[in-house]
C-alpha cells in the first residue's frame, strides 16, 4: 500500500502507484556523534553526505530514478539521456544546500521530481529549502517530502511548496489528509498563497 499523498489543483489524494524508485547510497561506516552522552540527531549544513567510494558504489536501476544529490553531481554524465527522457529526479538531505544543486544544474525543470529527505520531523530546514526551490529557482515539478513526514507538519509543508508527501510508513496517510486543511485563511504571504491576508481580503 502506498502512503504517498499528492496535491493536484488543490485536491489531495492518496496515489496507489508510484513509478519512482528511490536510490540510496550503500550504507558505509556510520559515525555516531554524541553530545553529553546523547546521540546527535542533526547533521550540520555543509556536512558530507557520502564518501566518493559510496557514491561510486551506488547501484542505479533502470526506469524512473530519484538520485541522491551526491550521486547526481558525481555521475551526471551517465544519466544525460535518461535526464532528457524525464526519468531522473534528485533528492536532497536537509543539511545539503539547494544552491549546490542549482550550481550544477541551473534549470531545475529538467527534473520532473525533486525530493527533500527529512530525517527528523523537527528539522525545519526542509521548509526553507522548498520555499527556495519554488520561489527563487522556479521549480514547477513535483516537490516531495520523504522520511519522517508526519501529518502535523503537512499544512506548513504545503505552504512552503511541497505538493507530495510520503507519510511515514507506520502512520495512516488517510488520517493525515485532514491536517492539510488545518487553517483556512493564513495571515502571511508565503510560497503558496503569496499574498498576505490583508492583500487578499478587505479587513
Amino acid at each position: 500500500m502506498s502512503n504517498l499523498i499528492k496535491l493536484q489543483n488543490g485536491t489531495a489524494t492518496i496515489v496507489a502507484e508510484d513509478a519512482w524508485q528511490i536510490v540510496r547510497v550503500p550504507v558505509g561506516e556510520v559515525e555516531v556523534k554524541k553530545q553529553a552522552g546523547k546521540v546527535v540527531l542533526f547533521k550540520l549544513t555543509g556536512a558530507e553526505s557520502a564518501t566518493p567510494e559510496q557514491v561510486a558504489a551506488t547501484v542505479v536501476p533502470a526506469g524512473k530514478v530519484l538520485l541522491p544529490l551526491s550521486v547526481f553531481l558525481a555521475r551526471r554524465a551517465e544519466f544525460a539521456s535518461r535526464l532528457a527522457a524525464g526519468e531522473v529526479g534528485v533528492w536532497l538531505e536537509t543539511h545539503e544546500l539547494v544552491e549546490t544543486l542549482v550550481a550544477a544544474q541551473a534549470e531545475l525543470n529538467v527534473f520532473p521530481l525533486i525530493a527533500v529527505f527529512i530525517e527528523r520531523f523537527a528539522d525545519g530546514r526542509a521548509y526553507s529549502m522548498a520555499s527556495l526551490l519554488r520561489s527563487r529557482y522556479g521549480f514547477k515539478g513535483e516537490l516531495r517530502a520523504l522520511g519522517d513526514v508526519l501529518r502535523d507538519q503537512l499544512f506548513f509543508m504545503k505552504r512552503c511548496g511541497f505538493d507530495a508527501f510520503d507519510i511515514r510508513a507506520d502512520r495512516s496517510a488517510e488520517d493525515a489528509l485532514a491536517s492539510l486543511q488545518d487553517f483556512s485563511e493564513p495571515y502571511q504571504g508565503a510560497t503558496v498563497i503569496e499574498q498576505p491576508l490583508w492583500r487578499r481580503h478587505a479587513r
Binding site: 525545519g124 502535523d152 491576508l197
Partner: protein
C-alpha cells in the same frame, strides 16, 4: 487594546480545534511523546515537575478586564486558584491537567486570547515596552508594527521549526524598556530628521548559557520592509543555525561564528530577493492595524489635582506608594499605576483568582477597563486619573496589591525555579523570600532606592539574572543547590551583563550576601548614585572583598 476581526478570531478558533485533535491523538497513543512535544510547546504547554504548565500569550502585555476575569475563572476552575505573571509579560498556570487544556484554550478564545507560540522553537510572541502608547518619552507607538510582525510570524510556514526559540522585541521610546539587546531581534523605532519612520535593527542578543548583547544589523531600515527583512534574517538562521547542540542553536551563536559583517552580508543577499515582495507593508495596512488598537476616551484634564496634592502631603504611606508605583503618562492628568505582585511570602508574580477579579474591577472603575502586565512581573493600570489615585490606593491596599516597592530591592524578578520547573538546578522562590524578609523594612528599602535583583533557577535565565544589578543563579554542585551571585548587570540603553563575584553560596547564605553588597553600596555611594552607578564607579573589588572577607570555603558561611 487590540480588537480581533473575524479573521483573527477564525485563526484562533482553528488553532483550538487543531490542538484538541492533537491532544486527543496523544492521549489515545496515536502520537508519540517526541512528536507531541513541539506541538504542545507551540501552544505554551510544558510538562513540568509536578504538572503541566500552560503559558498564555499576552501580546504587548495588554489586557482588558473581561480577559482578566476569564483568567480568574480559569485559575479557579482548572488550576489551584492562582496564576503567575512571567518575565515576558505572559500569564502562566502551574497546575492544569493536560486533558483540560483544549477546553482552557477554547475559553481563552472566547475573550480573544490564546497560547500560540509562547514556547517552542519558533518565533515567540513579540514583546514591546510595557508603557507603549502611554509613555511620555515615546516617539513612535511600537504596537501596530509589533502586531504586524505577530500576524506574519503566527504559523509562518517556513519558520515553524527553527533550530531554537526566536524572540523579537520592539520599542519606540527614548528609554529602552523592552531590553532590545537581550533579544534575537530587537527593533528600535525612530523618526529620522525628515520625520520618516525608520528602524534600527539589532540581532543576536540573548541570555542563557552564553549571554551576549545584540549587535546592530541595520542602522536605518525603512519600516515598509520590516517583514521581508525579518524573513531574510530568519531564513539565514533557519538554514544555517546549528541544530546539533541545543546550547549552540540560538541565532547569537551563528552571528558570533560568522561575525556580524558576514552575517549581514548573507542577510542582505537574501533580502535582495524578498525586498518589495508581497509582505512589504503599506501605509494603509499600518493605519488599519493602528486603528484596531483602541485608545481610551481620555478627558481633557489639567496635570494637577488639589485633592491629590493634599493627600500626598497628609499621608506618608500614600506618598511612598505614589513615589514608587505611579508613573508618568503622556496624557495630562493621567498616570499609570503598578499594582505590586511582590509581597513577602508570596512567589513573585503570583496572583490569586480573587485578586484577579479585584484587579478587573479596579480596571473598570479607574482605568477604562484596561491594564497591562510588566516584565518585572507586576500589573499596571494604564490610564488612571490623578484625582482617583487616592481611592485606588485604598482599594488596592485592601486587596494586598499596593506594596510600595516598585523598583526597590523587594521587587524581585524571579523565575518559578525548582519549585515548579523541570529544568531547574535550584529553587528560586524561597531565595526571593529570604531576601524580602531581610529587607522587609520599607524605610530601609526606600533608602537603598532603585535596584534590580533578578533570580534564575538555572542557566536558561528566565529570571534574566545576567541583567540584574544583582543577579542570582541557581547552580548544581554535587547534587545540591548552590547560588552564584553577580553584580553590575543592567538592562536599558546602557545595558551590560553582570560579572560573577566568586564562588557560589548555599541557600541560607544568599540574603546575607545581598546585605553585604548593599552595605558596601550605602557606605560608598554619592547622594545621587543608585546601586548600579556605584558598582560601575568603584568596581567589583570592594564588593567582593566584603562578601568573602571572613569566608573560608566550606567552613565559614556568610551571615546576615
Amino acid at each position: 487594546m487590540y480588537k480581533y476581526d473575524e479573521y483573527d478570531q477564525r485563526i484562533v478558533n482553528e488553532r483550538v480545534a487543531q490542538f484538541r485533535d492533537q491532544t486527543r491523538r496523544y492521549l489515545a497513543g496515536e502520537l508519540g511523546e517526541d512528536e507531541f512535544k513541539p506541538l504542545r510547546l507551540q501552544n505554551g504547554l510544558y510538562i513540568q515537575r509536578y504538572a503541566p504548565m500552560l503559558r498564555v500569550a499576552v501580546p504587548y502585555g495588554l489586557l482588558g478586564s473581561a480577559q482578566i476575569r476569564k483568567l480568574a475563572h480559569i485559575a479557579r476552575t482548572y488550576d489551584k486558584g492562582y496564576a503567575h505573571v512571567s518575565t515576558r509579560q505572559n500569564f502562566q498556570f502551574n497546575w492544569p491537567e493536560l486533558k483540560n487544556v483544549p477546553d482552557i484554550l477554547a475559553e481563552l478564545a472566547e475573550v480573544e486570547m490564546h497560547a500560540i507560540q509562547t514556547s517552542g522553537n519558533c518565533i515567540r510572541n513579540v514583546t514591546t515596552d510595557q508603557f507603549a502608547g502611554i509613555a511620555p518619552d515615546e516617539t513612535v507607538d511600537p504596537r501596530p508594527l509589533a502586531e504586524i510582525i505577530r500576524q506574519c510570524s503566527t504559523f509562518h510556514p517556513e519558520f515553524a521549526l527553527l533550530p531554537r526559540k526566536f524572540k523579537i522585541a520592539v520599542t519606540g521610546a527614548r528609554e529602552d524598556r523592552a531590553v532590545l539587546q537581550m533579544h534575537d531581534v530587537g527593533l528600535e523605532l525612530f523618526r529620522n530628521p525628515a520625520g520618516e519612520l525608520r528602524i534600527k535593527v539589532w540581532v543576536g542578543g540573548g541570555l542563557g548559557r552564553t549571554p551576549i548583547l545584540g549587535s546592530v544589523l541595520h542602522e536605518e531600515l525603512p519600516w515598509q520592509h520590516i517583514l521581508t527583512y525579518i524573513e531574510a534574517i530568519v531564513r539565514v538562521y533557519n538554514l544555517h543555525g546549528r541544530r546539533d547542540n541545543s546550547y549552540k542553536a540560538r541565532i547569537k551563536i551563528l552571528v558570533k561564528a560568522l561575525g556580524i559583517e558576514e552575517f549581514k552580508r548573507q542577510v542582505e543577499a537574501e533580502w535582495a530577493f524578498q525586498k518589495e515582495g508581497p509582505n512589504t507593508v503599506t501605509q494603509a495596512e499600518l493605519d488599519r492595524v493602528a486603528r484596531n488598537f483602541t485608545a481610551p476616551d481620555y478627558a481633557a484634564l489639567a496635570d494637577a489635582d488639589a485633592g491629590f496634592e493634599a493627600k500626598l502631603a497628609e499621608e506618608k504611606g500614600f506618598a511612598n506608594w505614589v513615589k514608587r508605583n505611579v508613573h508618568a503618562h503622556k496624557q495630562p492628568g493621567y498616570r499609570a499605576v503598578t499594582l505590586s505582585l511582590k509581597v513577602t511570602g508570596i512567589a513573585p508574580g503570583d496572583i490569586t483568582d480573587r485578586q484577579l477579579d479585584i484587579v478587573a474591577d479596579l480596571a473598570d472603575k479607574y482605568s477604562f477597563g484596561e491594564l497591562r502586565t510588566s516584565h518585572e512581573q507586576n500589573i499596571i493600570l494604564s490610564d488612571v486619573k490623578l484625582g482617583d489615585l487616592y481611592a485606588l490606593w485604598q482599594e488596592a491596599r485592601a486587596a494586598g496589591l499596593a506594596t510600595p516597592n516598585i523598583g526597590l530591592i523587594t521587587d524581585i524578578i524571579c523565575c518559578p525555579g525548582g519549585s515548579f520547573c523541570d529544568l531547574a538546578n535550584a529553587k528560586s522562590i524561597p531565595i526571593a523570600e529570604s531576601i524580602q524578609r531581610l529587607f522587609d523594612d520599607l524605610d530601609y528599602q526606600h533608602d537603598i532606592g532603585d535596584i534590580e535583583l533578578n533570580i534564575s533557577g538555572c542557566m536558561n535565565s528566565c529570571g534574566h539574572h545576567h541583567v540584574g544589578h544583582i543577579g542570582v543563579l541557581g547552580v548544581d554542585k554535587n547534587e545540591s543547590e548552590w547560588y552564584q551571585v553577580s553584580i553590575g548587570g543592567k538592562q536599558g540603553n546602557d545595558a551590560s551583563l553582570g560579572d560573577v563575584i566568586g564562588p557560589s553560596f548555599a541557600a541560607d547564605e544568599v540574603a546575607g550576601v545581598v546585605k553585604r553588597l548593599i552595605d558596601v553600596y550605602l557606605e560608598n555611594r554619592t547622594p545621587e548614585e543608585r546601586f548600579i552607578d556605584t558598582v560601575r564607579r568603584i568596581g567589583h573589588v570592594p564588593f567582593k572583598a566584603r562578601v568573602y572577607a571572613d569566608r573560608q570555603p566550606g567552613k565559614q558561611k556568610v551571615e546576615a
